[in-house]
């Protein structure tokens, strides 16, 4: 499948101008910024953990596998690893507590974890209801519940003038109807609309909710979906992480200190 993408999905126009200005001062301003990243042990999530630590952020990340969380913590001891499954309602508050407890609050939440199923990809008519449920649980309900649980901390950051940003990692499958990407596409479309509405609703609180499509990346998720893809044509996740971090820095730079 040829996936088309936009670099940034729902950044408002003033930010587009800001990003286009090439002002490097915007791109290194993560010192002491408290960031949580879901799906942080592989692909884009792991690259984001590395990128944001390099830029001086305090980083917590979440993943389901204890072994993989411990491997990442071993490689990056400054990162705070949390074991949890975002598709499970019962895990959301324990995850939230560990993140905001360890970081002392939260300025940036990056909902990156995604579930792509069934593998191999199927037409919707052949997709089991349970696969659609599981995809929605991870890609839509998980970010919704986690963001909701984090809102108090994010609003507090906004009030303190630190800025508060939620990034929902999207896909061009959120806007284009690709055959066999039904469950994933529907979940990402819902997440995209959720992001837009939430951004409208939370703007008065100073909390920004943006949706970013990082493009087709050379990640385990993409390899599972398109095993015969030419990897040389895919974006490296560390490049996508750098771009995403630049965008978040630009959004944070527009906060209004109180």
């Amino acid at each position: 499948m040829d996936i088309h993408h936009k670099a940034i999905d729902s950044i408002p126009s003033p930010l587009r101008q800001l990003l286009a200005s090439g002002d490097d001062r915007l791109c290194n301003s993560f010192t002491d910024v408290r960031v949580a990243i879901t799906g942080g042990t592989s692909g884009l999530g792991l690259s984001l953990v590395r990128e944001l630590l390099d830029r001086g952020a305090k980083v917590a990340f979440v993943a389901r596998s204890r072994n993989r969380v411990e491997c990442v913590v071993q490689e990056l001891p400054a990162a705070h690893g949390v074991v949890g499954d975002l598709s499970r309602k019962e895990d959301i508050h324990p995850i939230t507590m560990q993140i905001v407890g360890a970081l002392g609050g939260l300025d940036v939440l990056i909902n990156n974890a995604s579930d792509l199923r069934p593998i191999p990809l199927q037409l919707l008519a052949d997709t089991e209801c349970e696969d659609l449920e599981r995809t929605l649980a991870t890609n839509l309900l998980g970010p919704f519940r986690l963001t909701k649980a984090m809102l108090g901390s994010l609003a507090a950051s906004a009030r303190e003038g630190r800025g508060a940003v939620v990034v929902n990692v999207s896909s061009d499958a959120a806007v284009n109807a690709y055959p066999r990407w039904g469950a994933y596409g529907a979940s990402k479309a819902a997440l995209l609309h959720l992001s837009r509405i939430w951004d409208e609703e939370l703007s008065l609180e100073g909390v920004r909710v943006i949706s970013i499509d990082p493009g087709d990346m050379d990640t385990p998720l993409h390899a599972a979906a398109v095993p015969d893809a030419d990897r040389s044509t895919l974006k490296r996740p560390e490049v996508a992480a750098r771009e995403l971090a630049d965008t978040v820095a630009a959004v944070l730079s527009r906060r209004t200190p109180r």
């Binding site: 507590m97 560990q98 002392g104 609050g105 449920e133 649980a137 901390s153």
Partner: protein, 193 residues
């Protein structure tokens, strides 16, 4: 996926206690809160998330079952050491004042609380009140509290509370009270509203 079965976890008939300048007390529906405000009033909102500070486990020296309720810590950065109230066997279904006593607690006693491991540093002026030191890394302690801790609750609410029942929609970082007098610690710390 667990489908939501209720629109909110908090009861829709929750009340607001209103005390006027003369000390007169009225009860109102929570939804009437905004109607009670006048221009110029100051609203103080508690946006602290509540630690699930009830930890069940075992007093290693005697093998007896205990419940530890974390009561306070010296600062938000301090997660290794808490003042804590200790009960013997039983749970929230028994009124607090009727709860059984814990075994005699001595400095150096070890407590197993799920995956958490703690040591009694010293007693704090009451047989039930101790200074408790957790062992392990910060990550292990946070995980232990988040996974093993249960909300503190009292006998008037018979159904076990979930963590989300105790977090308001504006809940920020979790905190517990700083060191206060024991009487305040016993009544006010980390309970559901």
């Amino acid at each position: 996926m667990i489908a939501a079965r209720l629109p909110i976890q908090r009861p829709s008939n929750a009340k607001v206690l209103f005390v006027d300048g003369q000390g007169n007390i009225e009860h109102h529906a929570r939804s009437e809160f905004a109607d009670l405000l006048r221009p110029g009033d100051v609203v103080v909102a508690n946006d602290a998330a509540t630690l699930p500070a009830s930890l069940f486990g075992q007093h290693s020296r005697t093998g007896r079952r205990i419940e530890v309720r974390l009561a306070g810590r010296d600062s938000l950065d301090e997660i290794r050491q808490f003042s804590a109230v200790v009960f013997g066997e039983g749970d929230f279904h028994t009124p607090t004042e009727d709860r059984s006593k814990p075994p005699k607690l001595k400095s150096g006693d070890r407590l197993k609380l799920g995956r958490l491991r703690g040591i009694v540093v010293r007693s704090l002026s009451h047989p039930r009140l101790i200074l408790l030191q957790f062992e392990g890394s910060l990550r292990e302690i946070w995980e232990g509290l988040a996974r093993h801790g249960r909300p503190i609750q009292y006998a008037h609410v018979q159904t076990p509370l979930a963590v989300w029942d105790t977090w308001t929609p504006i809940a920020g970082p979790p905190v517990a009270l700083r060191h206060l007098q024991p009487v305040l610690l016993l009544t006010g710390a980390c309970s559901h509203p």
